[in-house]
């Protein structure tokens, strides 16, 4: 992107922001703004300038954050909270320019409580950094997205994140005990179970904590969070099984997920398209035989005394349901790589087979186990049609990953990974892509699923269907938005919540 970037905010507001955050906490320079525009998901690069914020602020405290938000509310300027910017649904992408509120300088660990087993942090710390500090204490914070080394606690809350080891330890919403939230008016509240900062379960008042999970920055800014601590695992166990067909692998997935072992952290099923993609470009699969058509992987964590017998039983189930163990090297290496999928340089294939640079779009949904085979066929058929028509998409296959915290048997995070050659995007191709997403979403809803299990549903191609999926609950969302954010300053345009201000209360 080239050219001048005008600042669409009055000088006196910039001066006030400097008075709040200090000169080094307010950035109007081009790199600071442009680098906080997009997220890793495919982006309309030909329309980059439409999403550049006017100013970036980096507050250091709840008080500074509240002052920034009060100022924005007074001046009716959009505010977009952003942590690491690793989300995949544009929650941290400014849709109306305005103030980009970057939380990275609120990265302190404020309290490690080994008695009541909590840690209290700012939203700008990554889980990897946090766990490095926690290690000498024999505890971990087990929130483990595929962006583990680079995503941050604040973004995980804003997205309502999903964890690779959530079957064992829970997902972000299960691991955050309480939060300090700056509301869109600048008021500061503490939310959790009841009024306690470190209580996992209370029955006092409404349970507001989940309201601030996955709101994509539309309801406020989290400035502090108290998190769960669990014992550092003595052992990790990973096993990858290969299968001659999808159906056998699907049945095996169900058997493993229903095994009932509390140490089981996750089971994931890779389909034939995923295997074809991996066999093309992944060192662990390039030389696997063509007879290998599907893979099921599992991981377990915990004390050696519990993981060892569970691992033996899981190996037996995997083999008895038709799986061939792929060996320790593949199992352990591939599993370790899954904590850090953002480090992978991506490329795909054009229809003529040529290698081209592609960014990674993972279209996700929450779906029940019973519908996985049919959804898989319909999703792939949709992507194949669009690939043939536009020539800039590539089907990288699907996976289905156990989704329920502590009860990993009934529903799955399902993703179809699609490579997109961004440099070839124009308005027509982008519209084609969005239409592809819409068709995928329609299949999800047809089978009783939810648009997203993991990433959020506020992207174009998804968000249009949120009122359909939620029905009357979407009206409640709008009423909450209008109540908490009377001037629509907090991430306006996201989640169709502008509609909250268009209708008579």
């Amino acid at each position: 992107m080239t050219g001048v970037l005008p600042v669409g905010i009055a000088d006196h507001v910039i001066d006030e922001l400097r008075g709040i955050c200090g000169d080094d906490g307010v950035r109007v320079d081009r790199p600071a703004r442009v680098n906080r525009t997009r997220v890793p998901a495919p982006f309309r690069v030909h329309r980059w300038a439409e999403h550049v914020p006017d100013v970036v602020v980096l507050p250091r405290s709840t008080e500074q954050t509240a002052e920034v938000v009060r100022l924005a509310n007074r001046e009716r300027i959009p505010v977009v909270p952003r942590a690491a910017g690793t989300g995949l649904t544009d929650g941290a992408t400014p849709l109306r320019h305005g103030i980009l509120l970057d939380v990275k300088r609120m990265n302190q660990i404020r309290d490690i409580d080994l008695v009541d087993r909590t840690v209290t942090v700012g939203p700008g710390i990554s889980m990897l950094k946090l766990n490095e500090v926690l290690r000498p204490h024999g505890v971990i914070y087990p929130d483990d997205p595929a962006s583990y080394p680079c995503s941050m606690v604040g973004g995980r809350i804003g997205t309502g994140g999903w964890s690779l080891i959530g079957a064992r330890y829970g997902h972000t919403r299960d691991l955050v005990i309480s939060m300090t939230v700056v509301l869109p008016t600048g008021d500061v509240v503490q939310v959790g179970d009841g009024g306690g900062r470190k209580l996992r379960k209370a029955s006092t008042g409404f349970s507001l904590k989940q309201l601030f999970m996955g709101h994509e920055g539309t309801l406020g800014v989290v400035t502090e969070a108290t998190l769960e601590l669990v014992p550092r695992p003595e052992v990790e166990f990973a096993a990858f099984f290969g299968y001659p067909d999808y159906r056998t692998a699907y049945e095996s997935t169900g058997a493993l997920a229903k095994s009932g072992f509390a140490t089981l952290a996750g089971v994931v099923l890779f389909d034939e398209w995923k295997l074809a993609y991996l066999r093309r470009d992944d060192e662990a699969y390039i030389e696997q035989p063509e007879s290998l058509r599907a893979v099921v992987a599992l991981a377990a964590y915990g004390n050696r005394a519990e993981v060892t017998p569970a691992a033996r039983a899981l190996m037996r189930i995997g083999r008895e349901t038709g799986g061939d163990y792929l060996g320790d090297e593949v199992s352990q290496g591939d599993w370790a790589a899954r904590h850090d999928r953002y480090a992978i340089p991506l490329h795909g294939r054009a229809p003529d087979g040529q290698v081209v640079p592609m960014s990674w779009h993972c279209e996700d949904a929450a779906l029940n186990y019973s519908v996985l085979p049919q959804v898989r066929e319909e999703w792939h058929a949709i992507v194949a049609r669009y690939r043939e028509r536009y020539g800039i998409f590539d089907d990288w296959g699907m996976f289905a990953y156990t989704n329920g915290a502590y009860k990993p048997w009934g529903d799955y995070l399902v993703e179809i990974d699609v490579g997109i050659w961004e440099q070839q995007l124009d308005d027509e191709a982008w519209e084609g892509w969005v239409n592809c997403k819409r068709e995928i979403t329609e299949v999800t809803l047809k089978y009783g699923g939810s648009i997203s299990a993991c990433h959020g549903a506020s992207r174009e191609g998804d968000v249009e269907y949120v009122p359909t999926e939620l029905g009357g609950a979407f009206d409640v969302m709008k009423q909450i938005k209008r109540t908490l954010d009377p001037n629509n300053v907090m991430n306006p345009g996201t989640y169709l919540l502008d509609q909250a201000y268009e209708e008579t209360p």
Partner: protein, 79 residues
């Protein structure tokens, strides 16, 4: 012999592993160069390839150690 010799930094000629994959060093896979016409492939000295591969293994070892005290081997379990 210890030391950097420029003559040793030229990677060997690739050998074909599959229709669309070649290999110059053991276990280091490369896309068939004929499929790299749109995006030109970098010429990489041997030391850089070895550095990247070693770093990859370091990274995976680090990740195991980060998450647990030990890794349980299925092959050992079943012996």
């Amino acid at each position: 012999m210890i030391g950097f010799l420029l003559s040793r930094q030229h990677p060997p000629e690739p050998r074909r592993i599959k229709d669309d994959v070649v290999m110059r060093f053991d276990h280091v896979y490369e896309v068939d160069p004929t499929l790299m016409q749109t995006i030109a492939q970098d010429d990489m000295p041997a030391w850089d390839t070895h550095r990247i591969v070693a770093h990859r293994w370091d990274h995976l070892d680090w990740m195991h150690d980060h998450w647990a005290d030990a890794v349980l081997s299925a092959e050992d379990l079943e012996e």
